[in-house]
Symmetry: C4
Subunit: 364 residues, 4 copies
């Protein structure tokens, strides 16, 4: 069966048709009317390629570095929570897949696997640790120290969740408030990282930390032994703030359309952010990536790498570690093909002119 | 059951599936092809947020003033007729809900409840009285005197109904011309305010007062002991006229898409009106508000407060006073959430840059 | 039943559901993919009203003149062929309806009724005669002389049919080439005007006269005892040519989307033509008019009057003369209402600023 | 039955409803999400005609020259592979149809018929030979020499297939890699030209030649006894490169939407390429042509001739040589009609002002 899944949409359909609806809905949901969820994908379709021919594309290089670490393709695994909801090996399987494919895995604070178990298989893999700042700056700093010891290469601080967005699909079935987003784990699963950090008392995590400012982040960055990435940036103003706070990279994201409905799609926000950053730090993005052409468009607009959230979950649901590998492989092959067909040989050398917004095609 | 209704669209579906079709159609109808009815909602979706992160949104203030009266959130109840068609307690229930939520209720001239009954529960609640000018200026002035005595805080003069729009859904089932819009009440209901004013002879109300000019309104305003709000403004020219006539506020509205089909949606007209008004008076709007993000968009474009018409009716239909409260509560919670997610802490301090029209997103 | 038909779309549905499919298809068809057929209607929806309030609209004047002849409303009956296909009284019934409503009827060369029978009921009615130029200029001039004697007030020369457009719906069922457009009349009907002109030998009419130039039209105009209107103009260049040829009016039309598929919709072409004409002659239009707001939009863009084709046929099909009257009445009432709701009191005094294209609404 | 097929869409429906799904899918497929496949057609609909009237269109000339060879209409047969999949006479039937209609047939390298059999019927017909450059420049040069001997008038070098696009419909059913695009022929068919060139060892063709550059093409052109056309150009940059390489013509194409999904539609790319070429060489295009109005639009934007791919295949599938003739005849008649209806008498004299993009229609 698996061999007949030839694109990421196939994995989505397959996963959502087999997953328990509560869990499928949890991952699939966007906020409110899900306009941003849809925009994230639809806005990629508004960009058109201007492909170049006859440029010797026999050898194509997909590898790049993110914060100095080599990855074999510019597509990493975005932080997403609770992988064990879809596969019993959870985050460990996803991380193994990323490692074997030579790319970055970002572990979520809401993982259902201990950080040590994920980090244990790391070797020299590029693993990042996603951090929600609970309670105060000090606790965040302790977390970063632990992440450093585990071997994580960077910390991804999510800045777009002062409170949790309103995901109607999830809320319609929610029974209790066991965690920050009101999603109750089945009894055999644990928020392993949160419990290690805070114990089973959820009184802290159930109160999102909404008082944070860029000053807090600047304090965290200044004391951090790891580079810090600000995830959830959608405007030039906030890109500037993140750089001022000392962040090593800016990560354009709208949390998969799960926070504020009606914000810019990620790919729409990317040009503004890239321009504001002006090459001072690296820029990443997630949101809506489903094909190799999507990856190529984001890179052409200035992203150094992109990340996939739901597609990795759906790959995991369908086939565990192998499924995630297959999802990454499809994107890799599609990206390589798209590069060859547009005359690009190196992901680090993509001209902006490769892509044009449909509204700007010259009509003459 | 009620607890499963988690957004205003749920209330609409629930109300329209249970109401007598004649009454459901009466409230749901727009004019002609219902283009404006649809535009009122669709045009909100064309506005995108540019949310700001890490701005300490732990404390968010939703309260504001309208014409000097404090309201707990910038969402009031628009004047709509005949609440008893959907719930036996009618306008009284709606007004109680508004009062208990700390916001403004605007009573329609076509209420099916006596003004005294609504006003009787007012205390210091912010209640407004909507006025159609029948026959002549003198009768309007007498009406305003009565409204003043009842404790209403302002008079909302509807300026966009010189004649009644053509609502096909309603006209298709209409049997008689018992009132200005040809809608016949069931025998156990009365147009209480109109009967108090004019008796049961409908010869006056059945002839809409189409000869009015801004001079008439200026006369009414100059003699009014209450501030006057001009409701139904869609252009800069009329905003200027309303201010010249002495109005204390301009209320952007297209009568819920029930008058002239094909006019600007309310949210499309808002920027032009706000610019023309230039801060000289307050600007309100109704039309298409269904989510907290809609409210936030209207505020970002310069509305001081917004009003809901059909959603309140649907809340009333589903659950009486409690249903209306629930509808307001949903909007309040959604607005608060949207503010937090976009880095806004005070409804009185929303930058215009929070919102961008989709056609103006920079493509670079 | 008839009384439940409250808009022109109702008449279309009713007519097409009862007419013989061959005849329904004949009238409903557009050319090729029917893009222009659809654009003619859809492009009206892209225009939005900027209505003005409080302007004393108690008295509204719908009457105007076309080429000096008074009509009671600026909506005439466009020339369409073969009315007897849908009603046994054919063009006579349509003409009677137009006369009784005080507006213009334009008789088609492809009428199934003798010109004398239509003209006989004319009195001082404003009747026009539509002319296809067959064979040569002399025959056209003889036709105009006859039209003059019958009492027609003007001649409408169709300039957009050098050959007949490709209407797939019609062609799919066509059996023979009995006339210019290959449509075969049932045996009991006659192209009365053509037979009077040419006899039953269709060798002339079956060869469309495709060699005509503006010089030919200039010759016709110079010898014509009646004012000549050029129907089928879509560009500024041709508007200029028509004026140079001496035409008394320019009639914007794409032949109901039945000629070249993909041309400008009539309402899209109107601004360009009106600007080019610059008030030197009157401008009319047809194509897509289905509501009073459509009429008002066309007038605001500079048309002096509009014409309806299919709607009159559908009215005729549903209810004969009475049906046509009802269709005109609906448009008249809708137009009056739209004028009142937008603050307009005279069809001859409509500001261009009443209407804005959706792409030009200021977003600020 | 055949006589009821009155437009190219009818042929497509008929062909796809009767062909073996594997073969129907092979021809119908576009790459990935098939956005470009759809854009190729949809973008024609965004162009509107500004037709001119009364210009004596009795005589219309459709004939033109391509590279000095006369063709009776500016519509040729694009190179497509494997005609015997849909009809047992394959490319020979298609070529005969093109010849009898007086237009150009372009034979694909992936033909299932020997070049000699097609060329044998040529006489003075305008036949072109499409070339994929396998392995190296020398083999290409030998191929061109053979093509010259066969009587082909020009060589069409496909430059947009350094690797094969990802056509999901085809890949979903693919069993083996028998050729460059992984499509396995049924046992009774042969890639005759490839076998003649390379023998049955597909080791060469199964490795697409992705290392080619414009220098290679320049070498091929400089040694070619036939004019060389570069097919697959979508940008001004590549148009310039093709001219620098010595090509005699530039052929705008995205390979029927089968290579990189998301590129400019052919008709969208045409204005940019035509402007860049500036009349130095001829410009052709294919992609999305389904009606005579499509042809006319492409010509108005500057194409000297257009080519049809799938429509010829569908005609062949439905009716062999006769079916292809019928498809060309329909386009010819539609083109002639469109020219007459827009006041054009010669395909070599079409003003750019005939066509306007919908976004540029003046709104005034």
């Amino acid at each position: 069966m698996d061999t007949e899944l030839i694109c990421l949409d196939d994995y989505e359909r397959q996963a959502l048709s087999t997953l328990d609806t509560r869990y499928g809905d949890f991952f699939a949901a966007g906020a409110d009317d899900e306009q941003t969820l849809q925009d994230n994908r639809a806005d990629f379709k508004k960009l058109r390629f201007r492909p170049r021919m006859m440029r010797n594309v026999a050898d194509v290089s997909l590898s790049t570095t993110i914060l100095g670490n080599l990855i074999s393709l510019p597509v990493g695994i975005a932080p997403t929570s609770r992988h064990k909801l879809v596969h019993h090996l959870g985050e460990e399987a996803t991380a193994r897949a990323a490692k074997s494919m030579g790319t970055c895995f970002c572990l979520s604070t809401y993982a259902t696997t201990k950080a040590a178990e994920v980090a244990g298989l790391s070797g020299d893999a590029t693993q990042w640790f996603q951090l929600y700042i609970f309670k105060d700056v000090q606790m965040a700093q302790r977390q970063i120290q632990k992440a450093k010891k585990h071997g994580f290469k960077a910390v991804v601080v999510t800045v777009d969740l002062p409170v949790v967005g309103n995901r109607r699909k999830v809320n319609g079935t929610r029974k209790a408030n066991s965690a920050i987003d009101g999603f109750e784990l089945p009894p055999h699963l644990r928020h392993e990282i949160i419990e290690e950090l805070l114990g089973r008392d959820n009184s802290v995590t159930s109160k999102p930390c909404s008082h944070l400012t860029w000053k807090d982040l600047a304090m965290i960055v200044s004391a951090s032994p790891l580079p810090v990435i600000a995830k959830g940036i959608l405007t030039e103003e906030d890109a500037e703030q993140a750089i001022k706070a000392g962040c090593s990279a800016v990560y354009v994201s709208n949390h998969g359309g799960r926070q504020l409905d009606g914000v810019y799609s990620s790919i729409s926000a990317l040009p503004e952010v890239v321009k504001a950053v002006g090459g001072r730090v690296e820029v990443y993005m997630d949101g809506g990536i489903r094909t190799g052409t999507d990856v190529l468009k984001a890179l052409a607009l200035g992203a150094r790498a992109v990340f996939i959230g739901r597609p990795a979950i759906y790959g995991l649901a369908v086939g565990g570690e192998k499924g995630v590998r297959r999802v990454i492989t499809i994107l890799r092959d599609e990206l390589k093909l798209a590069m060859q067909l547009s005359g690009i040989t190196d992901v680090n050398d993509i001209p902006r002119s490769l892509v044009q917004h449909e509204s700007l095609i010259p009509r003459l």
